[in-house]
């Protein structure tokens, strides 16, 4: 699917009205409400929190992911309608953060889901979150935020990785 012929209006439209599904895992969940208050006000970019995956464009993963939570995150991601983007907060989804040696924490999130924007920091401040949103808007505008296409294209590889994580590395039996 050639990216350029995807008309410009729908790219502008999806950039200026991003609806956020706030998947509150780990300790980052409390970082989003300040962004909605009057000091930072993400609504001026047309962004608003949405209740269900069907209505949302951006999936916000806000902390460490255990294997059990990863199952739910993948299910929610697949229910969203593309074009969909993923932003992950904090250092845990990047490389497991301070739980790097834990038996249960998933290390690199982008092996299971295509992540468009990472926000570093062991829970970023609201300014960091705002920068992440602005960065995502830039990427959409330049046409670089195509995680959902990547997921569709390499679907088998993602599914294989997810199954391996669900079986804690083992290949044989089906994940419970």
């Amino acid at each position: 699917m050639k990216y350029e012929d995807w008309n410009k209006i729908s790219r502008i439209a999806s950039r200026k009205s991003l609806w956020v599904l706030h998947f509150c895992t780990g300790c980052g969940a409390i970082e989003l409400p300040p962004v909605m208050t009057s000091r930072y006000d993400m609504e001026r970019f047309g962004m608003g929190p949405m209740a269900t995956p069907r209505q949302a464009d951006v999936l916000l993963i806000t902390g460490y992911l255990t294997v059990k939570t990863l199952k739910r995150v993948v299910n929610v991601y697949e229910q969203m309608q593309s074009p969909k983007y993923v932003i992950s907060f904090g250092s845990c989804p990047i490389n497991g953060g301070m739980y790097w040696d834990s038996y249960n924490t998933v290390k690199r999130l982008d092996r299971y889901l295509p992540v468009d924007v990472y926000v570093g920091g062991c829970m970023p401040r609201p300014e960091g979150v705002m920068n992440a949103f602005l960065k995502l808007m830039e990427l959409i505008d330049e046409g670089k935020a195509r995680g959902w296409e990547k997921y569709q294209k390499y679907y088998e590889q993602y599914k294989r990785n997810q199954k391996m994580a669900f079986n804690f590395g083992g290949e044989e039996n089906e994940g419970a």
């Binding site: 995956p53 199952k71 739910r72 299910n75 929610v76 419970a176």
Partner: protein
């Protein structure tokens, strides 16, 4: 002509008595039921829809045991006959595949049809009562087939009550002017005639389940076979209203009541009873879990509207009432047949157990959907025109208490109509194994839905059919063309609505067509976020006690329902009969004492 029809119906009834297989019996009764319909249509273009007069031309007199019965067609009977008898062919088509074995449904149904035909054609009170009893008897046997004790007992009690009321009414009238022929009955506004009128109206009201006399309806509707209940609630309840219409308007009953009380207090009471039964019927309907009981209460509510129309009495109101009767006959039969089709396939009646039937039975669902739209009076069906006339009449007569209650009952209809659609047909798919209902059933249902569409676009045709009935009853008519109804207050142009809808459907259709979409099955959505295979199967169908928050608010006020009134009545009767029983002590000398005492009373009364 009439003799031929009666003969055909009775022969068919007797023949089907002895046929075992349901299929053949259904075919015979189908043919037999088409006969009256053909005759009625014959009279229509013979006399011309607008010109049927009160005449006696096509009459027939036969005498049993020396009493001559006078039967002939009139304009009111013609309108009600069209309404009731066009229900029959689809119902018999439906029951072709509903009954494998002929369990007595067909013969007694045909007896019931002859009885109804007789009532509509009766020209004197005796024939009216004779066929009324025949109708009560045959419908009682059909209820008996349902084998439910409570339904049988309540139906028996209320049929007897209605028969007694009508008989005393006739007796009082006979004492006035000792002739039974309708044409010779002369009315003078005195207490006896008024009492007779009130008793007869009450007698007819029992059959059409008005609020205080409705106690039998929920039991009977939920326990008898669906095709019979469809005809009972669709057709037979209209016979009650035919009687009421006849007594109030053909024999100038309403004018007598008006002169006697020199204000229309009596008919206003009838309107209030109708409005109350519409309001409380709706409230009870959306709290019910059994599908057929819900439809029974909704039937009581919709019939209440007709009583309101008759109560108001203006030409607008009666036209609205007759239109509503026509619509109710059709959409209520479709709903009961749809409930029958669902029960035929899933064997369940409780809404909480049903769910997702619409995906596997799309045609039954479509028929029920359209009937529900007609019931909820949505402007895309003919249901709205009827209710619109009633609202216009009520507002133009400045009835400020009846109109809000009626409108709220109308809006309440949305609640239980969604309950039926969601609880039974939509929601999470719990019935994967069922197939669509057999073809005859679906055909029967769609034949019943057709008139609702025809009279959506051209309500004028309906008003033409009513025209002769209204003119002969001395009620004015409504100015209307084929698709515009004009009343003093405003006008309703159905063509504008239909064209407006077509035009405004274009943007929606464009959006629907331009973007392609992917069908998604259920497992993907109702467990949003939870991995389906891990969690096992939890039923997520929010069907039972659906309106719980409202029930808790309304139920305390409805506690003293009509049923508690009847149970109290039952207890009193029980105590009185126990007391009376003590008289029969079984000793012969007590009886001789009673005879002597009675003899003295007679002698004393003669001397005094």
């Amino acid at each position: 002509m009439l003799e031929f029809i009666f003969a055909a119906l009775l022969i068919a009834a007797f023949v089907t008595l002895f046929i075992k297989s349901g299929r053949i019996a259904a075919i015979i009764s189908l043919i037999a039921s088409v006969m009256p319909l053909v005759a009625i249509m014959g009279w229509a273009n013979e006399f011309g829809i607008k010109t049927i007069s009160f005449g006696i031309e096509n009459s027939m007199n036969f005498s049993i045991a020396g009493i001559t019965m006078h039967l002939s067609i009139t304009s009111f009977a013609w309108f009600f006959a069209v309404m009731i008898f066009s229900l029959l062919p689809p119902i018999f088509l439906f029951s072709y595949s509903f009954f494998e074995k002929n369990n007595g449904f067909f013969p007694f149904m045909l007896f019931l049809v002859t009885a109804v035909f007789g009532i509509l054609l009766a020209r004197d009170f005796l024939t009216l009562f004779f066929f009324w009893e025949l109708m009560a008897a045959s419908s009682f046997i059909l209820v008996y087939i349902g084998r439910d004790k409570k339904a049988i007992m309540s139906y028996l009690a209320f049929s007897i009550l209605s028969a007694v009321l009508i008989l005393t009414g006739i007796a009082l009238l006979y004492s006035q002017n000792n002739s039974l022929l309708f044409s010779e009955v002369v009315f003078n506004s005195d207490i006896v005639t008024v009492a007779a009128l009130v008793l007869m109206i009450a007698g007819f009201a029992v059959k059409s389940a008005l609020m205080p006399l409705h106690a039998w309806a929920p039991f009977v509707y939920s326990k008898a076979d669906e095709p019979f209940v469809a005809f009972l609630s669709g057709g037979v309840s209209k016979v009650g209203y035919y009687g009421m219409f006849f007594v109030l308007f053909a024999l100038p009953g309403a004018k007598i009541l008006q002169q006697y009380f020199n204000s229309n207090i009596a008919t206003y009471l009838l309107a209030v009873v109708g409005a109350i039964s519409a309001f409380i019927g709706t409230l009870l309907a959306f709290m019910e879990d059994d599908l057929r009981k819900l439809l029974a209460y909704s039937s009581i509510a919709q019939l209440g509207y007709i009583a309101v129309g008759f109560g108001i009495g203006s030409s607008l109101a009666i036209a609205g009432a007759l239109f509503q009767a026509f619509n109710h006959a059709f959409f209520k039969s479709v709903l009961f047949l749809a409930a029958g089709a669902v029960a035929y396939r899933t064997g369940k009646w409780k809404i909480s157990e049903l769910g997702g039937v619409g995906y596997k039975m799309p045609f039954t669902f479509m028929a029920a959907l359209f009937a529900i739209f007609a019931l909820a009076a949505i402007p895309i069906t003919s249901g709205f025109a009827a209710k619109w006339l009633l609202y216009e009449a009520a507002v133009s007569n400045k009835y400020i208490f009846i109109t809000p209650i009626m409108l709220i009952a109308g809006v309440g209809a949305f609640l239980y109509s969604f309950r039926v659609l969601y609880g039974v047909f939509l929601g999470e798919n719990r019935h994967d194994d069922i197939k669509e209902a057999p073809l005859p059933m679906v055909a029967g249902m769609f034949m019943l839905v057709m008139p609702l569409i025809i009279f959506l676009i051209f309500p004028g045709y309906m008003l033409d059919m009513m025209h002769s009935a209204l003119v002969n009853a001395g009620i004015g008519t409504i100015s209307h063309t084929d698709y515009v109804i004009r009343t003093g207050m405003a006008s309703y142009n159905t063509l504008a609505v239909v064209i407006g809808m077509m035009v405004s459907m274009i943007p929606a259709f464009l959006i629907y067509v331009l973007r392609k979409q992917k069908k998604v099955d259920f497992k993907d959505n109702f467990l949003a976020g939870e991995p389906y295979e891990f969690y096992g199967y939890i039923s997520m169908h929010a069907a039972n006690n659906f309106y719980k928050p409202i029930e808790d608010v309304i139920m305390p006020y409805l506690r003293r329902g009509a049923l508690s009134f009847y149970t109290a009545l039952y207890n009193i009767m029980g105590r009185i009969s126990n007391a009376l029983r003590k008289i029969y002590t079984g000793l012969s000398q007590d009886y001789t004492i009673y005879i002597i005492i009675f003899f003295f009373i007679i002698v004393g009364w003669l001397i005094w």
